[in-house]
Amino acid sequence: MTGSLAAFQSRLGRALMGEDTSPIDPRSAGFRFTMTVRRSWCEGRAMMAARPVLALMPDVEKRRLVSDYVDQGGGLALFLAAESEAFLAFLARRLPDPSHALTICRMSQALARAGAGVSMFVPPRQPLRTGPVGRGRHAALVWFHADPGAVMMALRGGKLPPVGPPDHAVLFAPGLPNLFRTATKAEAALWAELPAANAPPALIARLVMEGVLAYPD
């Protein structure tokens, strides 16, 4: 063989990124089919990585976004969680605001972040301390532009409700049962003001125990 294994792999890898370095004839049917399969795997990974968001979108739009993502080098992660993180971040920049798809995208990001925090989160022994309290590292608040139950039903094939004002807030945090719950108006207002020191202590204590809020280390 001419050249080393490392050189072969490097040249093939660079060819996949569009460089004219392929050690295999790029015009051959086998090379072109390999690229087709690779593209299909990348798109399939992206589709799986953001299934709920894509479920709310028309097919044409869905295919366009997936294709754009793969064109920019997406769809290569070995593990689904990493692919989801990257693709959801891509979608969050591209989806119309406001839209239910963007809400579900943010919800998916928030769920992933809260889930990632579960193994690290321990409710503090003393939930109240002096000084301003901030957002928990793995917490998020997502505004829904319709009743969240109706939006979730649409994911299962129901009709999407019209996009209205952001009247429904949902909290996500590692200490919440199932990682989420509806936020009260007071909680949503507090979240918007963070970091804050002047909220009712009982409210702060509860949110700290849930991982929604945290004091700086």
Binding site: M1, T2, G3, S4, L5, A6, F8, Q9, S10, L12, G13, R14, L16, M17, P23, I24, D25, S28, A29, G30, F31, F33, T34, T36, V37, R38, W41, C42, G75, L76, A77, L78, F79, L80, A81, A82, A116, S119
Partner: protein, 300 residues
């Protein structure tokens, strides 16, 4: 090689528990990556169990022997294997007993122009060369020592033509033979991969099978595939084709001590066959298996 286990199947959580009984299966082949995710732990990427799903998988398999079939090691990457995979296997070794560990003879990570590891997006075959054989054999020997169980390498499916080759190795069969001879690891003989390559590259699968030293085969895979753009793909999307059942018959006829046969199907195609259709594929594999394992049958 370990004692024969029989017919196995992957650990698919969406299927009913009733499928995972000794009445239908002799062992479960677990792909551990399915129950893990990558996490940056203090600056180091680790594969961390998705604890809930991992525990469900363990309960699912508790009445049956288990083997591990990894998909992320990238044993053929010239710059190095995917270390988090080895760390995952280190942890699993103490947590979940397995009879053998298998991986794929391919690479799926390369270095980019800046020297950073990057995924290729699809597994690629190794060129049949002395250098590739020596590299993989050294790593396979290391893994076999590390885990104290047989380590098997699966022959790959691929569509790339004209891989650069050393004449003394020749082709994919020569490469696998050289690796297993060098390090004493075994082969996971994927008959559907062999069948795909035979169709796409125009060689006779039976003659190819006759070249394989079956005494080194520690497991056999059968699966279904489909056609696309003039190529027959290893899609794992349905029924095992008749020629592959025929290859299984020939394999077990020649080598009845092969420890296991596994029917493979991807999660997204489970509904296509349904539990009953899957059970029929497993029953057929078992029928063939039992033709060549009368002792096991008598014991049962």
């Amino acid at each position: 090689m370990p004692e024969p286990l029989g017919v196995g199947f992957g650990c698919h959580l969406s299927l009913p528990d009733a499928l995972y009984t000794p009445d239908l299966l002799d062992f479960v082949e677990v792909t551990p990556e399915v129950f893990h995710h990558e996490e940056n732990v203090q600056g180091c990427i680790q594969l961390v169990p998705d604890r809930k799903r991992f525990d469900v998988a363990r309960r699912r398999c508790e009445s049956l022997p288990v083997t591990m079939h990894g998909v992320s090691l990238s044993i053929g990457s010239a710059h190095g294997m995917y270390e988090p995979c080895l760390m995952m296997m280190d942890r699993l070794q103490g947590e979940w007993q397995f009879h053998w560990y298998s991986e794929h003879l391919h690479f799926q990570i390369t270095l980019d122009a800046n020297g950073a590891a990057t995924n290729t997006g699809i597994p690629f075959p190794l060129p049949p060369t002395e250098e590739a054989a020596a590299l993989v054999a050294g790593r396979a020997a290391f893994i076999q020592r590390r885990y104290g169980v047989p380590f098997l390498l699966e022959n790959p499916v691929y569509y790339l033509p004209d891989l650069p080759a050393d004449p003394e190795i020749g082709d994919e069969f020569g490469l696998m033979e050289r690796i297993t001879a060098l390090c004493g690891c075994g082969q996971l003989l994927d008959l559907h991969n062999l069948y795909c390559n035979a169709i796409n590259f125009g060689f006779d699968p039976i003659r190819a099978l006759n070249r394989i030293p079956l005494g080194r085969v520690g497991e056999v895979h059968v699966a279904g595939g489909s056609w696309r753009d003039g190529f027959y793909m290893d899609a794992h999307d349905g029924l095992v084709p008749e020629p592959v059942w025929d290859l299984l018959e020939r394999t077990l006829y020649r080598a009845p001590r092969i420890p296991g046969v596994v029917f493979e199907i991807l999660d997204e195609y489970l509904e296509r066959l349904g539990p009953d259709g899957i059970a029929r594929q497993l029953e057929r594999a078992r029928t063939i298996w039992r033709r060549y394992h009368p002792v096991t049958e008598a014991a049962a």
